[in-house]
Amino acid sequence: MLFDEIATVVANQKLGPGLYLMTLKAPRCALEVQPGQFVHMMISTNPSHVLRRPFSVYAADARTELIDVLYQVVGGGTFEMTKWQEGTRTAIVAPVGRGWKPPYNARRALLVGGGVGAAPLYMLCDQLLDKGADVDVVLGAATGECLVCLDRYFDLRKPGLRVLHTTDDGSAGAEGFCTDLAEDALALAARTGKRYDYVAACGPEPMMRIAAGLAKLYGIPCEVSLERRMACGIGACLSCVVDTVDGKKRACVDGPVFDIRELPW
């Protein structure tokens, strides 16, 4: 069930170039949100923004009633959000969409996150680890300063977790794209017989297409999280359609996470 909840900003802090972490008090969302789902957030301080903005939930804690959103400033709405201070109130429709659905018996997963695409994978990573799976995370960003999720992944400190990273300019981790490391990891796994049984990718679409292509090559189930412009965010307006093998589907409620077998990639 969807609901429209008043959320209150608890913290809104700059983490890197154009990258902010917003923590919101949103008790109901914090309780119910599943990995890969998003909130549809009103730009409450500027009514000329008639559309809400979709943001994946980065982390949620039912006990503290807090959710985290990692956002990148790309336009007017996200710029407006940088001005929000502790106590600013907004409305979020939550918890929206079909989240990650790894095979229930996944033993070894590879998560590939590009840029802010690292955020929607974080709860998935945590959940897989709790289920006892081994999880390899490959994160990529333009520069070391942009790798703002890395520490939080390291801080999970759960057995079975391995975190690798790349930057386009080599300022941190290996130089190159996260898909290069993903390719190496998949090849190594195939050679050593320690195959992955699930790949999840989130980031720019070209990056996800490469990741999906690799998963297909190695015959591993794979999901990706797609971004589309959204108006209603609840499945009514058909703004956000994705071409699938079964015709057009809505990214907001039929996705945002899609199994790549559904996509004509």
Binding site: M1, L2, F3, D4, M42, P47, S48, H49, V50, L51, R52, G77, A91, V93, R228, R229, M230, A231, C232, G233, I234, G235, A236, C237, L238, S239, C240, V241, K248, V253
Partner: protein
């Protein structure tokens, strides 16, 4: 107690608020937010005979206090509406206005035929969609074509026939009169204003189709003016819409001559908007000592 009932050309509504076609689907998606049976009516997304694919993405762009859309009437066809959405709406006790589209005069007629034995309470004939190449606005800009479409639909049904007009014309009253003369029971306006948006940095259009329909608070002054003009020029009830986001907006439309109003883009900003507008109109009436909401219609003081 304020009397909130209105009569929109033979369609009895328990309050003057419906949803603008295409912004509310058939209400199912809004069920977590709005009890659709509490609205005056639900107006469903435009439906064609066999369904349409719609346009390429991106299909929307935000503009200051508004948005552009070029959805292109994507819909699964009238049979799906009959099998799935209409029974659900009927079960919720909703009054149903079905928005009808077609690429040809015959298609409008066939859609209406298909809906005659269903719970559809009224038809809103869309001769105003700016996002399709045939039918829609191309018909709605020409009084002779409008008269033909409306005349054909009229002879296909006895249910209330509402004709939805495009604002993309020089004189909307000319089209309004043609529709009324051809048998329209009510007029609905405005559909979206044709517009476009460009990204200066990429030098590309923000919509795949380049142009699209503008809606939201940005269009409200234009919509009010057109409702006022049609109110003066014709004698049929008007369903007013264009940027209505709260009860005051709705009251303004009624004062300009609307009998009922539709909430569209505001459903995206706030999924409770439709029902909040309905409750707000009632509160306005109570506060203003208005006993019957019909007193507001055309009540502009000037």
């Amino acid at each position: 107690m304020v009397n909130m009932n209105v009569n929109l050309g033979g369609l009895f509504m328990k309050n003057p608020v419906t949803t603008a076609s295409g912004t509310f689907a058939a209400g199912m998606e809004f069920a977590d937010f709005v009890n659709v049976g509490d609205l005056g009516a639900v107006t469903t997304k435009g439906v064609s005979l066999h369904g349409w694919e719609g346009n390429e993405s991106p299909r929307i762009a935000e503009t200051p206090s508004g948005m552009l859309n070029s959805i292109g009437l994507q819909n699964p066809g009238v049979e799906h509406l009959k099998d799935v959405e209409l029974p659900w709406l009927a079960e919720q006790g909703a009054r149903i206005i079905v928005n009808v589209s077609g690429h040809s005069i015959e298609e409008y007629r066939e859609v209406i035929y298909a809906l005659e034995d269903t719970p559809a309470d009224a038809y809103e004939v869309n001769v105003s969609c700016p996002n399709v190449d045939a039918g829609g606005m191309t018909m709605g800009c020409d009084p002779t074509m409008v008269a033909k479409v409306v005349g054909t639909c009229r002879s296909a049904t006895l249910k209330p026939l509402i004709v939805k007009l495009t604002p993309n014309v020089t004189d909307i009253t000319e089209i309004a009169k043609a529709a009324v003369d051809a048998g329209a029971d009510a007029l609905s306006l405005i559909n979206t204003l044709l517009g476009m948006a460009i990204d200066a940095h990429t030098r590309r259009p923000k919509l795949a189709r380049v142009v699209g329909g503008l809606s939201g608070p940005a269009v409200k002054p234009v919509a009010l003016r057109m409702v006022w003009e049609c109110y003066k020029a014709t004698s049929v009830p008007i369903l007013g819409m264009g940027g209505i986001a709260n009860a005051d907006d709705a009251v303004e439309f009624m004062l300009a001559g609307a009998t009922a109003v539709a909430v569209g883009t505001a459903n995206f900003t706030n999924p409770h908007a439709s029902i909040q507008v309905a409750r707000g109109i009632e509160r306005y009436c109570r506060e203003q000592g208005v006993e019957d909401v019909n007193e507001l219609i055309g009540g502009l003081v000037c």
